[in-house]
């Protein structure tokens, strides 16, 4: 009977990790993980329920389990693709954020740091400008190669004799972003019709996406998630510095390679599907780290739950605040992300 107190769900806050490491932390974080899952489930239902046409939650449930032919069923079904994309891309962006922040040991890192966004944008504007491609289906295939090429370029440029180091990676990312960014500006500003298409894409939105997009990007995302899943322990080792990590038996180079590929797959797949959505990859790992600490074994699964919940809630907010018009989710995440970024910077200053 002595254990009842500890077995009960945590009431106020989450306990600090004590000297014994695994068990007390697991005892508090496992319920928290379930809670995060609950919040995500709630966000999914909200995403299916709220919009120009409000559908009560009970009706949403009915539309999912036993659809009749009521108009509300069609409304709910039309929201399924954007909800699925929100789930997948939210998880992809935040998990790749965890990976990139771990790889570069840069807490301000986000997947855009590896050049994924500019790479995707560059091939996209090229396709629209010179090959008059532009429909939803074509965009995925336009955005993916650019995203991968830019990431490869960042890694090539960031690798010295001893492989890619965090500082070199960040610098290479900045260089590629600047160069490719200039190209995108030049093309999109010289061709007004490209600019018109591009500016809608670059904001990032879950709205009006075709359900087939999910299937198109799913293989990339699944592979990205699978690769990320094997990384947490290696990323923990990497956090101690390259030398210590190597001394502990971690394969630093291999971790960077797998991590780079995983982050590129996740971020490129997401960007190709819904456009570059800012701040999710940056902010979610920070939010999660504030209660899990730096252990990637917790950071990763929590981010995979909190990221999509945040993205879906932001999307729902965008549908509500300017109704009947919608504000793109990319705009909302930027608004929500900015304070988190400020907070993160302040916390870092506090530590150093």
């Amino acid at each position: 009977m002595a254990d009842t107190a500890t077995a009960a769900p945590p009431r106020a806050g989450l306990s600090q990790s004590g000297p014994r490491r695994a068990s007390p932390r697991a005892r508090t974080l496992l319920p928290a993980l379930a809670l995060a899952g609950g919040v995500l489930l709630f966000a999914v239902f909200l995403s299916l329920s709220v919009g120009q046409q409000h559908v009560p939650l009970g009706t949403v449930w009915q539309a999912l389990v036993s659809p009749g032919h009521a108009y509300d069923d069609t409304v709910v079904q039309s929201r399924i693709p954007r909800t699925l994309l929100g789930l997948l891309c939210g998880a992809a962006l935040s998990v790749s954020g965890v990976v990139v922040q771990g790889l570069t040991r840069n807490p301000l890192g986000d997947p855009g740091l590896l050049g994924v966004n500019v790479g995707a944008s560059a091939t996209l504007v090229t396709g629209i400008a010179f090959f008059s491609a532009g429909t939803g289906q074509e965009r995925v295939w336009l955005a993916l190669p650019g995203a991968f090429a830019a990431t490869a370029a960042v890694f090539a440029l960031g690798s010295g004799r001893r492989g890619a180091t965090p500082v070199r990676l960040v610098l290479a990312g900045a260089v590629i972003t600047a160069v490719v960014g200039a190209y995108i500006q030049a093309v999109s500003l010289s061709y007004p019709q490209v600019f018109d298409d591009y500016r809608f894409w670059v904001v990032g939105s879950l709205a009006g996406r075709d359900a087939s997009l999910v299937g198109q990007v799913l293989p990339y995302l699944v592979l990205g998630f699978a690769l990320s899943a094997i990384l947490p322990s290696s990323l923990n080792a990497l956090a101690l510095g390259d030398d210590t990590a190597t001394a502990l038996g971690a394969k630093v180079g291999r971790t960077r390679l797998i991590g780079g590929v995983a982050a590129a797959l996740l971020c490129a797949g997401s960007t190709a599907a819904v456009g570059p959505i800012s701040f999710v990859g940056l902010a979610v790992p920070h939010i999660v780290r504030s209660f899990t600490g730096a252990d990637h074994r917790w950071l990763m699964p929590f981010s995979a739950l909190v990221g999509p919940a945040l993205l879906l809630l932001a999307d729902v907010l965008g549908r509500v605040i300017a109704a009947p018009a919608e504000i793109e989710v990319g705009v909302i995440t930027a608004f929500l992300g900015a304070p988190v970024l400020l907070l993160a910077v302040r916390r870092m200053r506090g530590r150093s």
Binding site: G51, Q52, Q53, Y71, T74, V75, Q77, S78, G112, N117, V118, S121, T135, G136, T177, G181, I184, P192, Q193, F195, D196, D197, R199, F200, V202, V203, G204, A207, G208, R209, D210, S278, A323, P324, A325, E326, G330, V331, A334, F335
Partner: protein
């Protein structure tokens, strides 16, 4: 990195206005600019000019234009002015370059055909997006600028007025009725008698279509914009697209007509999730950029379930030229558009259950 928020919000707003105005930008198939028709040939005709028509002063919402003698070098901006000027015997020296529904000359095919028939020179074209190409207009040395159905701003009006007397809209931008527009142009060109006759003729033509198709009378319609996935906007009365259909005898679906128009537009933006507002509409009109766009939109379950779409009492216009021509009521556009347009409406009407 890009900071998309502020920039694209403004840009979006611009686009929203442009779309509302039906000016579809972003589709510009850059046609080669026509070599400015030889400036030597004055392209105006004096037949039909009223005696004592000049000088004349025309007031608009942005200022007054005084025209002292019969204009010879006319420039047109916006919708329908080119048509009206040509049908009054005055071929403009320069026109706004059209980017939707245009032919290779950057103008509408019914205008080009009429000019060729008259033996006039094909007008030079100038861009108005993202801003009016004032230097191109100045190079044309105009003596009258017609923009009664357009969206020119007060600042643009001032600039243009410095080049030549400029006729803008009498009320709100893009909200000039077709007959008002024709009267303004007739007055500016000194051909009031002729233009009044043309207006009467057009009204007769439209009434004839209506009497010849009595089945149109009891039918309700809605004209929507849905070419962007997830969007649904309804064109309201005052928009020429709607006026053309009303002139043929159809009635706007009352519940749709009662929706408030969004600020400064003649459209009501409702969003595709409210597509059930169209349930009681007999015939649904819309336009698409092209067939790929049509397929993409029609694949949306919310669009596909609209009763009019389901039963085929639906007029989806994918022919850009016809879409534009059925957006004007002018002596040139009506004979181009209506024979085909009415056929499409008859077919849709036969599917109304």
């Amino acid at each position: 990195m890009f900071t998309p928020t502020a920039l694209s919000k403004t840009a979006r707003r611009i686009a929203a206005v442009a779309v509302a105005a039906g000016l579809v930008i972003g589709l510009a198939a850059c046609s080669t600019p026509t070599s400015a028709g030889s400036s030597a040939s004055s392209s105006s005709s004096t037949s039909g000019t009223d005696k004592g028509a000049f000088p004349v002063t025309i007031k608009s919402a942005l200022g007054s234009a005084t025209i002292t003698k019969a204009p010879k070098r006319v420039v047109t901006i916006g919708w329908g002015s080119t048509d009206t000027a040509i049908s009054l015997g005055v071929v403009p020296v320069g026109i706004e370059k059209q980017t939707f529904g245009n032919d290779s000359t950057g103008d509408y095919p019914w205008d080009t055909a009429a000019i060729k028939k008259m033996g006039g020179a094909i007008p030079a074209t100038f861009n108005v997006y993202p801003d009016i190409d004032v230097s191109a207009i100045a190079a044309l040395n105009p003596d009258l600028i017609l923009a009664p159905q357009s969206g020119i701003t007060a600042a643009q009006y001032k600039t243009l007025s410095a080049l030549a007397p400029t006729v803008a809209y009498p009320g709100q931008p893009w909200q000039t009725k077709w007959d008002t527009q024709m009267r303004l142009i007739g007055k500016a060109l000194g051909k009031t008698t002729l233009v009044n006759k043309q207006i009467a003729d057009l009204k007769t033509t439209l009434a004839n279509y209506s009497t010849k198709n009595p089945e149109f009378k009891g039918l309700t319609f809605a004209y929507v914009y849905s070419a962007q996935p997830g969007s649904l906007s309804i064109y309201q009365q005052g928009d020429p697209r709607v006026e053309v259909i009303k002139a043929l005898g159809l009635t706007e679906t009352p519940s749709i007509a009662a929706l408030p128009a969004s600020k400064d537009t003649f459209t009501s933006d409702i969003g595709l999730e409210k597509a059930n507002l169209l349930d009681k509409t007999d015939i649904l009109f819309t336009w698409f950029n092209d067939e790929a766009n049509e397929k993409q939109i029609e694949a949306q379950p919310l669009f596909a379930q609209i009763p009019a779409v389901k039963r085929g009492s639906y007029v989806p216009n994918v022919d850009q030229k016809l879409a534009m021509a059925s957006t004007f009521i002018t002596p040139l556009s009506v004979p181009y558009a209506l024979p085909r347009y009415v056929k499409m409406i008859k077919k849709a009407a036969s599917n109304v259950g």
